[in-house]
């Protein structure tokens, strides 16, 4: 193919985004958009048909991700993305269901669902954007805010210890646990692709700048300054003991794939147990069979890509 004939390929992300909703609501220098880039590329790489993907978010700046991704997408209530996704996934096991939400949403109000989802090993891909604050509501302290940080509800500096998210996720039962920052775009894309392939509950923490409400108040400068800081402070350590993965301000940030184990998912366990007890009387569960299968009416709309 000669260069003269080559067409400029469109930006791959545009296929997967609601371009009619751009510009998005995120601030200049916000890292959320960067992670969306990686996510879209990971989906593309995964070869999962787009109509078999659903994105579920809670409420927050990150929660708006669902609204920008051109798949079936759900912007639920604050903290409840995981149980919503649990219902969706169990009804439609053939779909790949991604929960994309913020640290406040998933870890503060939603913490219980996270640990129980991990325990059950529901086949959900959790992407947790950790910007160390509740951004959407104006930058309050939360369970990931490092002690000493200034926030609107800790104007004299926070003092509560924050969670070590990989440790919490592992102890709850997640089968894949990794942490990257939005600086690590290639590793992040690969990690997302790994999650999409993995069976069971995966947990991916992404450290991301919120210059507007966290960075500015905490001497991290602009978004790009924060990204540079991530570059400097991060140390890749695959397989690290999650117990050692706490983020301590001023100390190095451990990143990498910390946990990657196999155990039966909720549905595997369900089918196995029912089969063992009920034998032939139990029809293996593969999703609810809709009484009026809409496929019949809607077959032609199916996107095969």
């Amino acid at each position: 193919m000669s260069m003269a004939e080559m067409e400029v390929p469109r930006n791959v992300v545009e296929e997967y985004l609601c371009m009619d909703r751009m510009p998005h609501m995120w601030c200049s220098g916000c890292g959320i958009g960067t992670t969306v880039n990686c996510f879209v590329r990971a989906i593309e790489r995964s070869k999962i048909p787009r109509n078999k993907i659903a994105v579920v978010s809670g409420i927050g700046c990150t929660g708006r991700v669902a609204g920008y991704i051109a798949t079936d997408s759900f912007h639920t209530t604050h903290g409840r993305a995981i149980p919503f996704a649990t219902g969706l996934k169990l009804a439609r096991p053939e779909m790949t269901v991604i929960v994309y939400s913020g640290d406040g949403d998933l870890i503060a109000i939603g913490g219980n669902h996270l640990i129980h989802g991990a325990r059950r090993n529901i086949d959900l891909k959790i992407i947790c954007i950790n910007n160390f604050t509740y951004a959407m509501t104006g930058g309050q302290a939360g369970p990931t805010t490092p002690p000493g940080s200034i926030s609107t509800t800790a104007p004299y500096g926070g003092f509560e210890q924050e969670f070590n998210l990989p440790y919490l996720a592992e102890s709850s039962g997640a089968v894949y646990v990794a942490r990257w920052t939005s600086f690590h775009v290639t590793q992040l894309t690969r990690a997302m692709a790994e999650c999409l392939k993995k069976k069971g509950m995966t947990f991916l923490e992404i450290i991301t700048p919120c210059p507007t409400l966290y960075g500015r108040r905490n001497r991290q400068g602009t978004g790009v300054d924060t990204m540079k800081m991530y570059r400097e402070m991060s140390v890749v350590k695959h397989g690290a003991d999650t117990k050692e993965a706490a983020i301590v301000p001023g100390k190095e940030i451990l990143v990498g794939r910390f946990v990657d184990i196999d155990r039966p998912t909720f549905l595997d366990g369900y089918n196995k147990q029912m089969k063992s007890r009920l034998g032939e009387r139990f029809p293996e569960y593969r999703g609810i069979s809709e009484e009026s299968d809409p496929l019949e009416q809607h077959g032609e709309n199916e996107i095969e890509q």
Binding site: N11, E14, G33, M227
Partner: protein, 99 residues
Amino acid sequence: MSAEVNSAIKSSEEAKERKGPKGCPVITAERCKGCGFCVEFCPSNVLRMSRSFNSKGYHHPEIVDAEACTGCDLCGMYCPDFAIYGIRTGGKKRMKDEG
């Protein structure tokens, strides 16, 4: 550079590019919020921030060293506003030939 290339770029909301031998960044300045990620993390120092503003009042990237672009699309992966991406202008083999 063929007319098709340009038109394809145009269709992508007035994107701007200046092709190098291996690759080039495609910039939609209007969508840019001026964060500077692309400039900072382009491994080949292809970009710099413009002096001028877009209509929203943001500085946006402009090409300073078109030749250096490898088309690696790191700018595309970093850009939080989907306002830039990199394309390869030569086949992989070709790039090797050239190198």
